[in-house]
């Protein structure tokens, strides 16, 4: 039970598992998630078909684990960016870099859902972790330079909802867990999140190619619009 002391066999196992996953990612990058084939992976690894069943329950299990890893990797990237103290724009740059690094990994998480497939349950926890990080950074930035105090009533610290959305969010904050962020911070976090995905998903899907402008300029402008007064 000595945790961490992996037997040689265990070492080997996890090594092969990693290699299988690496090949799976290659394949997803080449042919998309729907083109992932166990046999093809096995062939590329020099082993033959059924061997993979020693390492994964089957095709679905493998995909599920890739999805899990993708979520985890984004959460870690976000966490590191938050720790770096580069603020919201740091988060945005990290996310953009993460997405461009491997578009198909982005799409595996945020792309077209396969009607039958359901993501593993623990990914929702990771998704919430990501939102929590975003909320933290939003709250910190807001504390440093309190913004959006535009339409506040005489309520003081700006915790009163300023419009319909903020009012709605004040009443529906399940996703924020027990985060104490005031409505306008909730709002900013959500807006940041969706705008970021708006530019990224269109860019990665190639809908800006041939339009002439640089998506990155649009991306940073959209982000700045929410940091310096949104």
């Amino acid at each position: 039970m000595a945790a961490g002391a992996a037997s040689p066999r265990e070492r080997y196992r996890s090594q092969v598992r990693a290699e299988i996953k690496a090949r799976a990612w290659d394949q997803i990058a080449t042919a998309g998630a729907s083109g992932l084939s166990l046999n093809a992976i096995a062939k590329e690894l020099g082993m033959s078909g059924p061997a993979l069943y020693r390492y994964f329950g089957g095709r679905d299990d493998l995909i599920t684990e890739l999805v899990r890893d993708a979520y985890r990797s984004l959460a870690d990237t976000f966490g590191a960016a938050a720790d770096a103290g580069t603020g919201l724009s740091g988060l945005a740059r990290a996310m953009r870099h993460w997405a461009l690094e491997d578009p198909q990994r982005y799409f595996l998480v945020y792309g077209t859902p396969v009607p039958g497939y359901r993501a593993p349950d623990d990914t929702t926890a990771t998704a919430r972790e990501i939102m929590a990080t975003l909320l933290d950074v939003c709250a910190a930035e807001d504390a440093a330079a309190p913004g959006s105090a535009e339409a506040d009533g005489p309520g003081g610290a700006g915790t009163a909802p300023a419009d319909a959305l903020e009012a709605h969010l004040a009443d529906h904050r399940d996703w924020a867990g027990d985060h104490p962020a005031p409505p306008h911070v909730l709002r900013r976090a959500l807006a940041y999140w969706t705008r970021l995905h708006g530019v990224l998903s269109l860019e990665l899907a190639g809908h800006f190619t041939g339009m002439g402008f640089d998506p990155e300029v649009l991306f940073t402008a959209e982000c700045e619009g929410l940091t310096r007064r949104g």
Copy 2:
């Protein structure tokens, strides 16, 4: 050559073609685009496999035509909304309705691109038509209530770029065709476009389910943020 005078055979042909496409859409809605099967469609239509080759060159041709139709349908929806004179928010509502009506149709156009597949060339023309409509409405709205004149220099009508993005767009406006919109209108159109997709794509992919709030409230708030001062 008498245009419009379709022979009975031609009538029948286009009727069957339409039925095939309808079944194809059903199948896409159920199993996604990658799960579309010619044989399955034929079976559902009560005819057997190879018969479909009388109507389409093959699976790829069929998908291509579905993509074309999806683009066309969005362009028409946009055009109608613009003609209705309900402004930018009318466009947004139309788009949202179009997307919710058949999420898989939305994803066929804006979802995860299949690495190998390339959309038919004429869809780019339709895409430009959509952007043109958006630009028209943006320009009209701007003319009615000139906004975003925030950081304008003494240049008068607000045609000078106000920031890095507007400057960049002023120099890279291929996508706008010969539309005379000033930079800040180009900017607003693009931002509107990406924000709209940001909320929609996340919502349709199910990333808001379980978060507690109503995506529609977020959607309309994001849109309003760009009409009443952005």
